[in-house]
């Protein structure tokens, strides 16, 4: 933090001259990249529609309000389906993630050269394909319906849970394992009495967290036909029944807020 002398008084500046120049350069480069990218986007955009969007928005709001409240009763089954997709999907995902996490953690993997990269690859590819794309693929294989959604959510959860879980496994306390080892325990006993109790809190919080995310994801897998409230949303948007769409959106907001509230409660109760 330099103090700069100007004629007869001193002023304080946050950074010295070098750092100031560097900051300026970073801002300059950032702005340059931003404007270049924006230019490329704008050349692919029809600006007439963008400038007209406020009229379009007002028009849409006019159609969405008032919501058609009677429609809510038809939504009960889809929202139940959505909840099930999220819950069962999370369960499947975490169950598959457990062995994968043990295989990919540095300290529990049976072979660092062969199995670990393979398990890591499974985790990364599950993470990098969005659940909607998984659903798109699965609808073609198992047909439209709840099952495709459950599998899609499950497959997507594997990567997330696996990654966080194997990081938790890598951070366990080795002394406890040594203590169990000293009693003459075999590998399986070390696992159940040494490792599992240590990662159990992490495991519960990871699966609750993922369940919360999955409620959100389960609302959209239906857009490609994989069950849940998304199917209704897709159908009503296709019918241009905007008064019904607004009911669906309200239900989604309520479901998400509710799931967030529940997860916060459970987390408090457990930890």
């Amino acid at each position: 933090m330099p103090i700069i002398k100007q004629k007869d008084y001193k002023t304080w500046k946050k950074f010295d001259r070098k750092r100031d120049l560097l900051n300026w350069l970073c801002w300059f480069l950032g702005t340059l990249i931003f404007s270049l990218c924006f230019g490329l986007i704008s050349s692919n955009t029809i600006w007439f529609y963008v400038f007209n969007s406020h009229n379009e928005a007002l028009d849409l709001l006019g159609r969405m309000i008032p919501p058609e409240t009677n429609y809510f009763y038809t939504l009960i089954k889809p929202i139940w389906d959505t909840l099930n997709i999220a819950t069962i999907g999370t369960t499947i995902g975490t169950l598959i993630a457990i062995p994968l996490a043990f295989l990919s953690a540095n300290n529990t993997t049976p072979s660092k050269k062969f199995i670990r990269p393979l398990a890591l690859f499974c985790i990364v590819s599950s993470r990098s394909i969005n659940s909607v794309i998984w659903a798109l693929l699965l609808v073609a294989v198992v047909g439209p319906g709840v099952l495709a959604g459950i599998i899609a959510i499950g497959l997507r959860s594997i990567g997330f849970c696996g990654k966080l879980l194997y990081e938790a496994i890598e951070e366990i306390d080795e002394n406890q394992i040594e203590a169990i080892e000293a009693t003459g325990a075999n590998k399986a006993q070390i696992m159940t009495f040494g490792i599992v109790p240590q990662i159990l809190p992490a495991f519960t919080s990871i699966s609750i967290y993922r369940w919360d995310i999955n409620i959100r994801e389960a609302t959209v897998v239906g857009l490609v036909g994989a069950g849940g409230i998304g199917i209704e949303l897709d159908a009503q948007i296709g019918d241009l029944a905007w008064a019904k769409v607004s009911v669906i959106l309200l239900v989604i907001v309520v479901a998400v807020v509710f799931s967030e509230w529940i997860t916060a409660k459970i987390r408090k109760a457990i930890i």
Partner: protein, 265 residues
């Protein structure tokens, strides 16, 4: 007495016996009701297995060449979208996150900002994209607006949590020098949350790229529209190529961003 052996038993996970049995009952009734209310068409699945096999085989070999110009254009469009959307989203979420921090904002601003965050977090990018495409027409601009909007919810929520945890004494020290509000934020709060800020920006950049692959499916531009076109034309070899490209770019982005985050820490 002398024959009695002391045997150690593992403690049950939940100490209260009533609660334990209740939970088990609750879970099993839930599973049963799911099983009874979910219509699973086993016939369709049995039919689907050979079809699925053909479908998966149709992906091989991935064809990178035939439409390489389209794939490249899609990827670059996704990249532009991601960069612009992340920057715009972060710039907007700075005031929102200040508003959503209990220790900085007055009550009504707090609830207003929390409302924005909840709204943005409730809807998946795909749903938002449907609406923005409807409002602004097809193309990357709608996708960019979608990504910026969903960045706000994520970024502002996590940043505001960090702002709420700043050390009060540092902020108070700045205040006691007679600084105005902006100076107080700039010198008292901002330096404390900067590491988290950079980490979150990198993380969001990574997420936005991944999401840009999906919003193209509903017309938001980018690599997603290339993927969707390939599916619509039944060109599964090209779809496979696009998927492989997405996975590898995500891997690269994730690897570099986690490396950068470690470097900054």
């Amino acid at each position: 007495m002398k024959d009695k052996k002391v045997i150690w038993e593992r403690k049950p996970l939940i100490k209260n016996k009533l609660l334990r049995i209740g939970l088990i009952l609750l879970i099993s009734t839930y599973l049963l009701s799911v099983f009874l209310t979910t219509e699973i068409d086993w016939q369709r699945i049995l039919e689907g297995i050979p079809r699925g096999k053909n479908f998966i085989f149709a992906f091989f070999p991935p064809d990178f060449i035939t439409r390489s110009d389209e794939i490249l254009a899609g990827i670059f469009e996704s990249l532009w979208m991601t960069i612009v959307a992340t920057i715009v989203g972060i710039i907007i979420s700075i005031p929102v996150s200040l508003g959503a921090a209990k220790n900085i904002a007055p009550k009504f601003v707090y609830f207003f900002s929390r409302g924005i965050i909840t709204l943005s977090r409730s809807f998946q990018e795909v749903i938002l994209a449907i609406f923005f495409v409807k409002l602004m027409g097809f193309g990357p601009f709608a996708g960019m607006v979608t990504l910026s909007f969903s960045t706000i919810g994520f970024f502002a929520k996590l940043l505001s949590e960090d702002i709420e945890e700043i050390s009060k004494s540092q902020a108070e020290a700045i205040k006691s020098t007679g600084s105005n509000w902006f100076q107080w934020i700039n010198y008292g709060v901002q330096p404390q949350v900067m590491p988290r800020f950079i980490g979150l920006s990198l993380y969001r950049l990574d997420i936005n790229f991944r999401e840009s692959a999906v919003i193209g499916i509903v017309g938001g531009g980018g690599i997603g529209s290339t993927l969707n076109k390939a599916f619509d034309r039944y060109e599964f070899e090209i779809a496979a190529a696009v998927l492989i490209v997405i996975i590898s770019i995500v891997m690269i982005v994730e690897y570099t961003s986690s490396h950068l985050r470690k470097l900054i820490k």
